[in-house]
Amino acid sequence: MSTPRAGAPVLELRGVSRVHGAGPGAVTALAGVALDVPPGQLVAVMGPSGSGKSTLLHLAGGLDSPTSGEVLVEGTPLSGLSRKALARLRRRSVGYVFQDFNLVPALTAVENVALPLELDGVRVREAQRSAQSALEELEVGELADRYPDDVSGGQRQRIAIARALVGPRRLVLADEPTGALDSETGEQVLRLLRRRVDAGASAVLVTHEARHAAWADRVVFLADGRLVDESARVDDPSVLLS
């Protein structure tokens, strides 16, 4: 993959729409969404349930394809990639944190975290070393040999985040990552995400809680599949009165 331009968006959505089904029963999940996420930026996406938040995240990570428009990760249009190349990009460049953790129950914590690296051809020992340091960064290094079902919800989420952050991933996609956690543990998780972004990654955080969105540099809203950036200031007060 070519080296991206400095400061160029790590994630770019250009006029992205996603329509489920066809004909009169078609449901528009996203309509003409444009979004740039440069390095070092954490963008929070808020909106009521059913507004298209998760669809946006799936498209950004190449887990779903847009009906129209284009998604670019590190400057590469996802539509032009073969299935194999897309899978490789997903493993190398994109980390996911989902509500439901998605850890493999038959693998230990360190094996779970090392998995994406190993799938990418990194040797087992090296992958496990990176995985161990990712676990330590999240203060769960001592759980390396435990299985997901053996640890608490908060610990499981930290392991899932370590897996999303392991290696040189530059784009982190998080879907309500604090869902199952108590308020203080949730805050720690967001803080870790924040640190990673401050160190140069880019991240999109989907949340319905303003308190969590406040960790972001930019907050955008989805309503009925359309993006509204309310952080843009309006200078002319007369526009309120018709």
Partner: protein
């Protein structure tokens, strides 16, 4: 009232002078509610008049210090033991503004709500940045609690604004429906004929 209780609570930790009380109050609350020295001395004079503190001479640097009395210590214990009364809500400019705005013809209340939500979110982001900085320092715990309080209040405001947006939209729909229903009798001759 809060100034009085706060000064008294800090004096319960040991004798202090006016400027010191002010500095400690601001350090713990991050200067969220600034105190002026005049206010501190007026309050100290009242506390002295009520027998809750006494003048305790001057310290080595010549500051006039105050010491809490037994009666004062009891008042502090009572303050900590009792919940803060919630029966008289503080005046809330935003609630008042929206209550008035919603009846102004031609005013785009949804735009007002959205703009306010963006502003509240910006404040929430600022508080969060301050929290992030204060989180690793155990001495910052009092300030962190004040910040948490501001964060939760701002979050509640955002949720309330979401709710206002929905409620205003629904009320507008109802008005339209009612207006249509009111026009309906004029169309009813047709319906009568059909019947």
């Amino acid at each position: 009232m809060t100034v009085r209780q706060s000064l008294l609570a800090m004096l319960d930790e040991g004798p202090k002078y006016g400027a010191q009380l002010r500095a400690e109050f601001e350090q713990r609350t991050g200067a969220t509610w600034p105190l002026n020295v005049g206010q501190v001395y007026t309050t100290l004079a009242r506390l002295e008049r009520d027998g809750l503190v006494v003048s305790d001479g001057e310290d080595d640097a010549g500051h006039g210090t105050y010491r809490i009395t037994e009666q004062g210590s009891r008042a502090v214990a009572v303050w900590f033991a009792q919940p803060v009364e919630r029966d008289a809500p503080q005046r809330d400019e935003l609630a008042i503004k929206l209550a008035l705005a919603v009846m102004v013809p031609g005013l785009d209340v949804r735009a007002l709500v959205r703009r306010q939500r963006a502003a509240t979110l910006r404040a929430l982001q600022d508080y969060t940045r301050l929290k992030d900085r204060a989180m690793d320092d155990p001495d910052e715990l009092p300030w962190l609690l004040v910040l948490d309080s501001l964060v939760y209040a701002a979050e509640a405001e955002v949720r309330w604004l979401d709710h206002v947006e929905t409620r205003v939209a629904r009320a507008a729909e109802q008005r339209t429906r009612r207006a249509r229903a009111a026009e309906a009798p004029q169309a009813s001759p047709v319906a009568e004929r059909v019947r």
